[in-house]
Amino acid sequence: MDSVNSISEAASLRLRDLNAVLATGVREDGRKLDEYRNIDIKTNLYEKADGSAMVRIGNTVAVAGIKIARGAPFPDTPNDGVLTVSLELLPHASPDFEPGPPDEGAIEMSRVVDRGLRESKSIKYNELCIIPGKSVWIIYVDVYALDHDGNLQDAAGLAALAAVLTAKLPEVKIEGDTVTELETKRPIPIVETPVPVTVAKVGDHLLVDPSAAEEEVSSVRVTMTTIESGVVASIQKSGSDSITMEEALKIYDLAFARAKEIRGKLTAALGVSPA
């Protein structure tokens, strides 16, 4: 009964039907409940960006572009580079998206992408320092949701990750306070692969990688970002419903298992893995 709070009456009828179907273990698009859609990853699409990637999950598409610039560190982390993630739900992606400054949902989504990369501490920020306290590399990750058929959160997170994994930054020569960028480039120092996996709850069922139709009748989604060792580095529960502690643990297990598969595809597609 809690689950009808934020979904319309029509959706709640649809939810009743869907709940019965899901009890058979098969989803509307033929997938099993714990099955991810097909993933396609392309990188280095834009020569002017310092890194870029396009990730397609079924008919969901996100693009990420990276620009790297020198700037001042934050005062409380004088030896660390800076990561800045922005996300725009392009009006291309859905009739429901309007152009303009990001709304609450887009801000949440970009912050979840950001924390997935940041909180895992997989990026060695101290290796992005140029002159301590004065000059560090700032990595701007701009993510575009381009086509929305559900689970933009993972598409955005994977596009950002693939772009970071393949981006290049210039080597520098430092003489006193003068920094000269050289022609040679090096990768962003990243030592693990934090992969986000989103699980939606529809009725009593946990669905991995929800489609747009499933998201419409779901009132809770949980995104967990895990790394190779099984450590979970970022969690976000989103939506106006509750979950049990058992569901939370089951979502962890689903997220870790799917992340492992996705990590394999990512390494294969990019020909790179973290240093």
Partner: protein, 250 residues
């Protein structure tokens, strides 16, 4: 801020499990709750959790504004989480940050499962959470106080909601981080729960937890929520047994 530079050299947990502010691993900070101190709103609550100080007011149920937001079959719940410019070490700009916008959303979604919105069609129930002093755990303390203010406003609820952040220090899971622990610790996991139906309404994590630590963290949060729930009930009792207006500050 000074600690940032040499945080490595100062353990946040002693070998015998004592934290820098003297607390034990599963010990919550001192909490103070008061209900009903504001007079020109439907309900209000004030909470102190350690040095975190928050005041919450509820207006409504009332006509939704702007009107196009009104829902035919239920009330809408609006929240606002905001930090006072003087609540932080460096002055905070009063314009809402992206962080405040996200927290506003997750707090709303932490309260919505408990509030019986379908009892008040077409109206708006507005919950305003103002952080007067921030010392970690503001979103969880804000939820705990918001549930109190909703109760004072007479909004019917399926269950109370209370919240606490658990974390990880020197490899150990601990209860209710303070600011220093939040900044230099290894993980921060705020959890909100409905204590009677035993369900999680807010769950976030920043940091690194193994599966075992995650599970331990959830259990510890459950225990923290139980303690807070008892205090919530006590604060409401005090409000309704006292004819004197409560004092929000000593």
């Amino acid at each position: 801020m000074v600690e940032a530079a040499d945080s490595g050299s100062k353990p946040l947990l002693s070998p015998d499990g004592i934290r820098t502010d003297g607390r034990k691993i599963d010990e919550m900070r001192k909490v103070k709750m008061e209900v009903g101190l504001l007079k020109n709103c439907s309900g209000s609550a004030y909470i102190e959790q350690g040095k975190t100080k928050i005041i919450v007011a509820v207006h409504g149920p009332r006509e939704a504004h702007p009107k196009h937001l009104a829902q035919p079959g239920r009330a809408i719940l609006r929240t606002r989480y905001h930090m006072a410019p003087f609540s932080t070490s460096d002055r905070k700009s009063p314009a809402p940050s992206r962080r405040e916008i996200e927290i506003t959303k997750v707090i709303r979604e932490a309260l919505e499962p408990a509030v019986m919105l379908d009892e008040f069609p077409k109206t708006s129930i507005d919950v305003f959470i103002e952080v007067l002093q921030a010392d970690a755990g503001t979103r969880s303390a804000g939820i705990t106080a918001a549930a109190l203010a909703l109760a004072e406003a007479g909004i019917p609820m399926r269950d109370m909601v209370a919240a606490v952040a658990v974390g990880k220090l020197e490899g150990r899971v601990v209860m209710d981080l303070n600011e220093e622990e939040d900044e230099h610790g290894q993980a921060d996991m705020p959890v909100a729960m409905m204590p009677n139906v035993n369900r999680i309404t807010l769950l976030q994590l920043n940091g690194r937890l193994t599966r075992a630590e995650f599970e331990e963290g959830l259990s510890m949060a459950r225990r923290g929520v139980d303690q807070l729930y008892e205090m919530q009930k006590q604060a409401l009792r005090e409000k309704y047994t006292s004819s004197e207006p409560a004092q929000e500050e000593d």
